[in-house]
Subunit: 252 residues, 2 copies
């Protein structure tokens, strides 16, 4: 079976795209690191041998991707930014808004990631980290008396700590991003729920159970409790048809 010669449709590469590529490549190779500055637009014009509008279009793309930031008048030129989750979150929010991504998918994702992180953390945690975990519990209890925002913040601290202990920043990042998206979708409903306080108390209780299981080194149980907790916390906001799918995630 001989292959007939195959040609792919040739598509024009725009000048500004090649500029974007060059910058991103330098960034990937480490020749460009966060904090560094790009030459000024006019300087780039001569370096790339294109017009200023082309340079600017490239910069706009890079900027919208969170790679650089331009500030009017800054004599040092555009700044190369450290990676941030905002661009990632932006894309997730976009998908979620158009129902390409359902709330239950997001929550399911979190149940998995958070559970796994807790499971690993329970195996790798040091005694000091266990103390830290218990400190976050205290912070959560205190935050209940303030407002939902404060509680949410304390909850975030807890999960950040878990992720750090589990030594996997990818899990941590994904968790935070998805968490932000979920909260953005339903935080108003939660905050205005009549039983907001009891929900927070229950959540705190579950977190304490998780920490207990971690202390015992029972990662299996800790993860299960965490998933159950998250399910209880959010299940009311997802359609019934999806609840079954999420329940399948709880069990081990």
């Amino acid at each position: 079976m001989t292959k007939t010669p195959q040609f792919e449709p040739v598509q024009p590469i725009r000048a500004y795209q090649r500029i974007v590529e060059q910058v991103e490549d330098q960034l990937a190779r480490g020749e460009l690191t966060p904090g560094q500055r790009l030459p000024s637009e006019r300087e780039l014009v001569s370096q790339f041998a294109v017009s200023r509008s082309t340079v600017r279009e490239a910069l706009r793309v890079l900027e919208s991707n969170g790679v650089v930031r331009s500030r009017a008048g800054d004599p040092n030129g555009p700044e190369v930014l450290p990676f941030s989750q905002v661009a990632l979150r932006k894309q997730l929010v976009r998908l979620a808004r158009v129902d390409e991504l359902t709330l239950s998918e997001l929550i399911g994702f979190r149940m998995i990631m958070d559970g796994a992180a807790i499971q690993v953390a329970s195996r790798l945690r040091t005694p000091e980290q266990l103390d830290e975990l218990e400190a976050t519990l205290v912070a959560m209890r205190d935050a209940i008396d303030v407002d939902f925002d404060a509680f949410s913040q304390a909850d975030l601290a807890f999960h950040e700590l878990i992720a750090r202990i589990s030594r996997n920043t990818l899990i941590q990042t994904c968790n935070e991003v998805v968490r932000g998206v979920v909260l953005g979708l339903i935080s108003d409903k939660i905050a205005h729920a009549p039983n907001s306080r009891s929900l927070m108390l229950e959540s705190l209780h579950h977190h304490a159970e998780v920490v207990d299981a971690i202390r015992d080194g029972n990662g299996h149980a800790a993860a299960r409790i965490a998933r159950q907790n998250m399910y209880d916390y959010y299940a009311g906001y997802v359609p019934e048809s999806d609840q079954e799918t999420l329940q399948a995630l709880i069990e081990d």
Copy 2:
């Protein structure tokens, strides 16, 4: 406790940003749907009452976010694209490249996601989908005789099917992206490994075991085998110090 008045730093909103917002808002409200066309750049110039360069910068941002696509000469104007995850994937790839994720983090992530997807899939799969899974196994076996690329492709098909059965496109997307990054990092080493063929055979064997467990509805076992498989497959490429962390992921 009264709150002192808090002010946030005011940052200039660029003209092109407001254009982007307007377009995205119309899209979120459904007044603009995929397949529709935007007015031509010159028409947008008069509608937004800005210069063409400003309109173009806005279009470049929208284009890099996967919202629209401009084609030179198209009299119908820029096309509004259907929502896709390519932009999300782009950000994830960037995260993986920039954030200096270690290979073990990536693999750990995949062990978790793939295991979870398999677990859910074993609960939700229909008999027809089970047949499909077994078909992918046959395809994998056939691919072994071709080359590593073909096998890799068949493996991808397997995991894609799993993700579809588990009804969570977010898991699927993350899985694919991370898989791509991992393969990009070490595919050459695998392909040139002296025992490449035996590795593929072993991988196939493990996949078959997974399908067996799924058939029995034993999601727990299926997930464990999957994680074990992935660990065996990749463990040789991660530093010994990280292997322990990954091993912690295998157990339940």
